[in-house]
Amino acid sequence: MEIVMSAVIGLIFAVAIYLMLSRNIIRVLIGTLMLSHSVHLILLTMSGLQRGAPPLLFLEAGAYSDPLPQALILTAIVINFGVTAFVSVLVYRTYKEHKTADLYDLRGAKDE
């Protein structure tokens, strides 16, 4: 399972990078979102999958899934949401100011 998951994660990561290399700013935004999905899944996969019950102690199971990666991922999801919101507004504002969503046209002044 972990090996298959890793392959799928690699695929998500590759597509995310590919999207970030696009000309259109919307694709870049979606790319960053995909990037964070793949990272969350890596964190989960690295500790091993399906090793016991969910980390809820009242289940009184013999073994539990590792709670630490889950806590980290939870933090990451929330932070990522903040970043996504910020970048979305940034994209919106950039378009409003420059009237283009094409990153090739958004290059700085020529003589920098």
């Binding site: 399972m1 972990e2 090996i3 998951m5 890793s6 392959a7 799928v8 994660i9 690699g10 998500i12 990561f13 590759a14 597509v15 990078i17 590919y18 999207l19 970030m20 290399l21 696009s22 000309r23 919307i26 935004l29 979606i30 995909m34 999905h37 793949s38 969350h40 899944l41 890596i42 989960l44 690295m46 091993g48 999958l49 399906q50 969910p54 980390p55 809820l56 102690l57 009242f58 709670p67 630490l68 889950q70 806590a71 939870l74 933090t75 999801i77 929330v78 932070i79 949401f81 996504t84 919101a85 979305s88 507004v89 994209v91 919106y92 504002r93 100011e97 990153l103 002044a109 920098e112």
Partner: protein, 805 residues
């Protein structure tokens, strides 16, 4: 902290006071206050003569970074003391001279004297430090203060050019030297020069010996203006003349000489040290002397002359290093060169210092230093002319002046090489006296040019910017007169210095060569009988005179007309190429496109990751312990793969949002399957809000169009993205494999055991978040707050029409 430490730090401490003295005592020239510092230090260092002339040395320790072996240890022996006396003695005279030289109302004296004080302290630090790291720090401060002083009149373009040039060259050398010092530390396992000399055997037989030697010599050669690094010195002449007299002839340029002399016991004894230093020195001597004849600016002639004389002292140190091979201190065959080096060092400081001051006086009184405009000043400035005659005669090596004495010793030292029966001394070594002789011909010629072109010939008042030319004021004349008096004193009573200054300095350059209690034989006298050395001097005078007399003929040649040094052309072109090259490189790199920056980053990370992982066999993939795959998981993963693959192809913004959202929900589903209910809940919430947010934002954006990317760029994008994905997949697999095979327990056991006991919670993830790592979570809220603030201000921000966003 001892008095000795205080002596080194005193100029730095005084530098702090200088701006205040300048500000609150405008009526008094700041130089009068500063004058006391070198004067007191000079008297203080004189008291050490009694110690060093007995062959003793003083070591004062002060801990700085003892854990790294870096201590502010000061060491006074014959060599250090000689330099300390030069620095403070010449320093006193130079500051006295500068009081009258920089008498203008608008001179920024506060800057000038701060830089001079910085330099003086740093230079004392260089010659007195026993620890090479401390020495290095002071060494760089001398480079910096030298540059600051060269650019003192910073409105002049040439000043800035000269300052920049000297900075680049000497700091390049300084950094090389630091490399050499590090290698020395690796070999000797100490930063102390004393201990290195003790461990010289370890260093001599080490593989890094040659590398360390070359790096250290780069430092010494750049500082002491040896070919091809000499080009900064003539351009440094843009500095005010007191600075030229002080830094660029008497003290700072001799720091390289000091370093070579100081490290002779560490490195000497091999053919490399002998030949590199002797050859570089003798070639520099000839190059400098020949170039000096081509110059038209008085100070430029003196600058090239300094280059030449430094080369001479350097070659003597090289030739004398053979003493460490023979270890025979009583044999003057090897030690005469060192004697000549030390003696000429002192002589050069006296006569060249006075000549620079004279050049300054002429500049000050006539408004020019161009020998084509000067002439006939003998009757107008008789005192200046007298000073010059003595200084120039000493420089040209005419009897009975001190320059003659040291030049005779130099000839003896350098012809002795031909009698060395090793290192090709008897074959290639025969060339050395020949080159030395040619150089001294030109030395005589340029000395003659300075004198006759300035003081004899026709007075040309219409070519001078100053209307009425007269003798310099007494204040300007005091310092050169004192120096010339020193020249005369050494000329007639050279043996005053023999056992008080020269012999102790020789002892520190050549320690361990003499038997216990014995001394080097130092007896300097004028008449040695009619011998080779005297013949060489005579020949040099005759041919030098011929060169001067025929000057009108050869001065029409192009080589005379264009006085620029060939190495300066190399430097200028190299400098331009460097600027252009880096601009081209920057243009390639800084394209202003996000895509390029991401490509650079990803390529770099992927390459370094693959390299490291393959280098240390980091990739390990094993199916062992992997969990079972349920049928439904195949379905979920298939859906995920298909959605992901579709994403880049979509050309509709709504479809793109929906697909992205779908991926998010699938991830939430995966979380559920993999026993992470909290994650699944959060992911669902966040994904829902995100999709709504995207819809709100994308509504205002234009619809997606097919990306118009060149096929090659697209191919590169695919390769870059693919390799990044491959890397992540491999790292993820390896991380899992290692997690299963390493014998360490997961730290999560702690949370499983203590959640209820310590925090009273049953949901471990929640307990970790709000209790065990509560501070993290709190800061996470802060991050969210900042993001929200940023988003709001971005929406509200009003931008003026002409603002560039």
């Amino acid at each position: 902290m001892t008095i000795l430490h205080l002596a080194v730090l005193a100029p730095f401490l005084f530098a702090i006071l200088v701006p205040f003295l300048f500000k609150y005592f405008r009526k008094v020239h700041t130089g009068w206050f500063v004058l006391f510092v070198p004067l007191i230090l000079f008297i203080y260092f004189l008291s050490y003569i009694s110690v060093t002339s007995d062959g003793q040395a003083v070591m004062q320790r002060m801990e700085w970074v003892p854990s790294l072996g870096i201590n502010f240890d000061l060491y006074v022996d014959g060599l250090s003391l000689l330099f300390a006396l030069l620095i403070t003695g010449i320093g006193t005279l130079v500051i006295l001279y500068s009081i009258f030289y920089l008498a203008g109302k608008e001179e920024r004296l506060n800057h000038f004297y701060v830089y001079i004080m910085l330099f003086m302290g740093a230079m004392l630090g260089v010659v007195l430090s026993d620890n090479i790291i401390v020495l290095y720090v002071f060494w760089e401060i001398t480079s910096i203060s030298s540059s600051l002083l060269i650019s003192y009149w910073y409105a002049k373009k040439a000043s800035v050019y000269g300052a920049q040039k000297s900075m680049y060259i000497t700091v390049f050398g300084g950094l090389s030297m630091l490399g050499g010092f590090s290698l020395l530390y690796v070999m000797a396992e100490t930063f102390s020069i004393r201990e290195m000399i003790g461990n010289a055997d370890l260093i001599l037989n080490h593989d890094l010996f040659l590398a360390a030697m070359i790096l250290v010599l780069l430092g010494a050669f750049t500082k002491s203006a040896q070919f091809p690094f000499h080009i900064w010195l003539p351009d440094a002449m843009e500095a005010p003349t007191p600075v030229s007299a002080y830094l660029h002839s008497a003290t700072m340029v001799k720091a390289g000489i000091y370093l070579v002399a100081r490290l002779t016991p560490v490195f000497a004894g091999g053919a490399e040290w002998f030949w590199i230093i002797t050859a570089a020195g003798i070639f520099t001597m000839a190059w400098g002397a020949i170039s000096a004849v081509r110059q038209k600016d008085l100070k430029a002639i003196l600058a090239f002359s300094t280059v030449s004389q430094l080369g001479m002292i350097m070659s003597l140190l090289g030739a004398g290093s053979a003493a460490f091979y023979y270890m025979d201190g009583d044999n003057a065959l090897y030690t005469t060169a060192i004697l000549a080096a030390v003696f000429h060092l002192i002589n050069h400081a006296t006569f060249k210092g006075s000549l620079f001051m004279v050049a300054g006086i002429i500049d000050h009184e006539t408004g020019t230093r161009d020998i084509r405009k000067l002439g006939g000043l003998m009757t107008i400035m008789p005192i200046t002319a007298t000073i010059s005659v003595i200084g120039l005669a000493a420089m040209a090596g005419l009897p009975p002046f001190n320059g003659f004495l040291s030049k005779e010793l130099f000839f003896t030292g350098i012809t002795n090489v031909a009698q060395y029966d090793m290192w090709n001394g008897d074959t290639i070594g025969m060339l050395l006296p020949v080159i030395a002789w040619i150089a001294s011909i030109f030395t005589f010629a340029y000395s003659a040019i300075i004198f006759f072109r300035t003081f004899r010939g026709k007075f040309k008042p219409d070519m001078l910017p100053v209307k009425e030319v007269h003798e310099a004021p007494a204040g300007l004349l005091i310092s050169p007169i004192v120096l010339v008096a020193a020249v005369l004193m050494i000329s007639f009573f050279p043996n005053i210095l023999a056992y008080s200054i020269i012999e102790p300095a020789m002892m520190s350059i050549l320690p361990g060569i003499l038997g216990e209690g014995s001394n080097f034989y130092v007896d300097i006298y004028h008449w040695h009988g009619i011998n080779l050395e005297l013949m060489m001097t005579l020949g040099a005078v005759i041919i030098g005179t011929i060169i001067y007399v025929t000057m009108n003929k050869w001065s029409k040649l192009g080589i005379y007309q264009n006085e620029q040094d060939i190495m300066t052309t190399v430097y200028d072109n190299g400098y331009d190429a460097l600027i252009k090259g880096s601009q081209v490189l920057t243009r390639i790199q800084m394209t202003g496109m996000l895509r390029d920056y991401i490509v650079y980053m990803v390529i770099f990370i992927v390459l370094i990751m693959f390299y490291t992982m393959f280098r240390f066999e980091g990739f390990q993939i094993s199916m062992e312990n992997a969990s079972e795959i349920g049928i439904f998981m195949y379905l979920i993963l298939a859906a995920l793969v298909i959605t992901i693959m579709l994403l880049p192809r979509v050309n509709n913004r709504m479809t793109a949002i929906i697909l992205a959202g779908f991926v998010g929900f699938l991830v939430a589903f995966i979380f559920t399957v993999f026993r992470a209910p909290d994650l699944a809940l959060t992911q669902l919430m966040v994904e829902t809000v995100s999709v709504i947010l995207f819809m709100a934002v994308f509504y205002h954006l234009p619809n997606l169009t097919k990306d118009n990317i060149a096929p090659l760029t697209k191919a590169i994008n695919i390769v870059v993205a693919g390799s990044a994905g491959l890397m992540v997949a491999l790292v993820s697999m390896s991380a899992f494999t290692y997690g299963q095979t390493t014998p360490f327990d997961a730290i999560s056991e702690y949370f499983i055991e203590n959640s209820v006991e310590l925090a009273g919670g049953y949901n471990m993830v929640n307990v970790v978040l709000v209790d065990f790592r509560g501070l993290d979570t709190m800061l996470e809220l802060l991050v969210l707050g900042i993001a929200a603030l940023g988003a709001i201000s971005m929406i509200k921000l009003k931008v003026k029409e002409d603002d560039d966003v």
